[in-house]
Amino acid sequence: MKGIKHPNNDVSLNDSGNTSIVEVLNNVNLNRRQFLMTSISSSALVAAGGLTLSGFAHAVTSPTVGGALAGASVPSTTVGAPTVPITFTPIGPNLAASGVDLVTVPTGYTANLFVAWGDPIVRGGVAFSGNATETAAQQRLAYGEHTDGMHFFPFAERNGEFSSERGLLVSNSEYTHEAILHPDGQDNFTIAKARKSQAAHGVNIMEARRVRGNWGVQRNSLYGRRIDANTRMRISGPAAGHALMKTLDYTITDSATTPTGGMTDGTYSYGTVNNCAHGYTPWGTYLTCEENFNGYFGSTSVVNTTATFSENSKLYRRYNINAAGFGYKWHEVDPRWDVNVNSNGPNTFGWVVEIDPFNTKSVPVKRTALGRFKHESVQYVVDAANDLGMYSGDDERNDYIYKFVANAKYNPNNRAANRDILDNGTLYVARFDAGLTGVWLPLTPGSIGIGGVALRDNPNFAGANDAEVLAKILIKTRMAADAVGATMMDRPEWIGARPRVNGFLDIELYCTMTNNSRRGTGTPSVNAADGSTAAASANPPVDAANPRANNVHGGVIRWREDGRSVRATTFTWDIFVQCGDTRTTKTANATNNFRGDIVDSPDGSADYGAPDGLWFDDFGRMWVQTDSGSGTGDFVNLGMDQMVCVDPSTKETKRFLTACKEAEVTGVTMSPDGKTMWVGIQHPGDAGTAASPQATSSWPHSQWNLESDGVTPLNPGRPRSGVVVITKNDGGIIGT
């Protein structure tokens, strides 16, 4: 995430990147899908990942190995090559100097606006006014602001297939641009403004449907739903009920947040915020990740962040919670967000939240077993033994990459058996060693930390028993990772899993490292093993996995699990790409020439930097989205943010999409047949003010007068984050 709260990726201690979704490596169950074998060979199905419950095993309808593809050449037979070729004509950058306020896609493709902030998505919603006069109650029925990660859940339908014309599009609304959210910005801040801001955060559930060729949101769908910063949630897993999870309880209404006089029991909480990227499960639920939750908390009095003052003050320091926050002002009118009033409040955020979009009455669940940090995204992998791994990065400079392994196996034949398997398992953190090997370090009571002390004997995690120790390890995940000596990374963003296609059988994960201005700069320092280092305050030296000093352009690292098992405790790794600008005039340092090693032809034609979103489609192609800002400074030759398509077997990279002005590209998903793609466009016109909201962009109205259904008028008046829907004019698969 960037935008008004994050002037650039390096200014604040708490900035972070963001984006959306990830793809999956599904387990294969040949028994379940034996009927498909008439058209798809068993080996091809295994390779493609197989079919899972509930509708997102796109692989089944993927034109797979050796299949004839409409409008495409014969697929490569190279091991691990995508099953669909990357044959689109790449586009050039949208340079700031000559830029257009348009989302641009290659020749032969059409992009339309699917939904934008303020559009009604819940029954009873009203059309966006254009002047931001909507109330909080109206915002609760409308698409949230600043769209981010998303996933398309197709409906199961005839013949054991999944629909490519109807499903649920579930997306995050990460944060708000307060100057644009309200007619007069944050002036005269009231509880009404806070409520609207809170309602513009969270998760959007929409029914997406293609009618007569045009995609649109079903405005009266019974599935239309918003989950926001005040929605009641259940807390589950090892940390549920712990004393640090018990907060003051409140009655929340439109006009006030009133203390009930009691405390929660630590098994429920209210709301989710800063939902950056996401994930999903093979049993058909959505996972929303709480990233920069710290910025919503503040206080009207001094917040003690002394490392020795209290458990919470130490946590505030490590997670960067302070009196000012990001300037949302919620704490001024809503005591739930004042940490000197509701001191445990922040501990109920920083989790992965599971949502069942198919059940309109489902209660979101915070799964504490996956740890508490600034989750960027979460990517699942089911291996050949049906073991389930969940991979997630902590998007902060110098923070870590994690893996959760469920105790129970994934059951593709009975969804009920999977419902709570995210509550029991082992959380690991990654150590990347020189020599291209790595170790997954378990974060359990018996784990030995630096100095030979088990975590259960570390005062940070001391408890009455191991159950309490584990609860504290999970609530203070960053501090546990500090203790065991995890590798400090260059801001881990999205993680994607490479599909096992064309004979590729490894469990291979890719993670974007968006940048790190503190790497190899300043006086060298590291995160202290006692967990006392303030977030993003260290200046680590370069290391094998983070080899560039002043890493302004970022890159992508990847690792392979040993034994092709998600239960592996060791892995091998390499740096897939270092991003950069082949035309840079920046002065090189000893480890960084700022040019990168992107494989493109001609050289420099697909330069990109600050990679953030990373997602594999089911055909084995990797899509990378950027969060670099407004195309100035170190990114002047790269232009506005963009999305590139990458062949993981050759590293060949082509630019597929460029954003409108001052917008980040974040969030991408596809229909099962690969013929429809949704892409998120976040914070266009980021420099807009309350007095002049369209000072730098009026997107999407700068591009269209109607939404994608070809009927609904598009009101001007504000730049609006939104989701575009992309189709190929000849009806072919996206990217061909």
């Binding site: 009927f35 409906f155 005839r158 013949n159 629909s163 599935y223 058909g284 034949n413 009975n414 969804r415």
Partner: protein, 224 residues
């Protein structure tokens, strides 16, 4: 007049029942033991060594190809969508089929049933008139009777369908099956299986009321 119409309708329904008849109705036509499938959640049948799934109440289920017991969403093309939301006819999870050819789901009963029915719908694609065939079986698996039913509901609708089944003159049904007639695109959904082994007390009461009403009408006519 209205009263007369209603009671005659009830009497006609009972008379049809007495002759052993098919049921095709907007909603359930009798009361009995209900199986709503809400205790299942995405259970694939058959699986591993399970070919017959115990549904409780002496009822088991088989599926000739893969079905999902406890399905939570299913698209029916031109017939709309089934969801967990439901309505007075059904709600929560249901059964969906993944059939690629002609397939059948069968409910087997430990005891003889007189009335059996289920709320169902099927995939309908534009220009094709798919239909379901329903079967009632005796204790030996022989067909007691069968009929074909085509279900047509709103393309924009949710959770619509038809209650289909059999009402016999005696309790002799040991099996009840639904099968898609067409070999392609014939997937269907079903929920709220209803069975009764004896005529419901309500039915007797309705019969008495109906007879009484007819008597009253006859008396009035005579009075005229």
């Amino acid at each position: 007049m209205k009263f007369k119409t209603l009671t005659l309708a009830a009497l006609i329904a009972l008379s049809v029942n007495a002759e052993a008849a098919q049921i095709q109705s907007a909603s359930a036509t009798f009361t009995g033991t209900l199986t709503d499938f809400n205790t299942f959640d995405g259970y694939v049948l058959p699986q591993n060594n399970v070919t017959s799934l115990d549904l409780g109440n002496g009822i088991s289920m088989t599926s000739s190809e893969f079905s999902t017991v406890g399905q939570n969403a299913f698209g029916l093309d031109q017939n709309g969508l089934w969801t967990t939301e439901g309505n007075s006819n059904r709600d929560g999870n249901f059964v969906s089929t993944d059939f690629t050819g002609i397939g059948r789901i069968t409910f087997n009963f430990n005891a003889a049933m007189q009335n059996v029915g289920i709320f169902a719908n099927q995939s309908q694609i534009f220009g094709v008139n798919n239909s379901l065939q329903l079967f009632a079986f005796d204790i030996n698996g022989n067909v007691l009777e069968s009929f074909t039913s085509s279900i047509d509901t709103d393309v924009d609708g949710y959770d619509e369908g038809k209650f289909v089944g059999f009402a016999r003159s005696t309790a002799d049904i040991y099996g009840f099956a639904l099968e898609n007639v067409s070999s392609n695109n014939g997937s269907f959904v079903a929920d709220n299986l209803l069975v009764s082994s004896v005529p419901e007390p309500e039915s007797y009461a309705m019969l008495l009321v109906g007879l009484g009403a007819i008597g009253a009408v006859a008396r009035r006519r005579r009075a005229k």
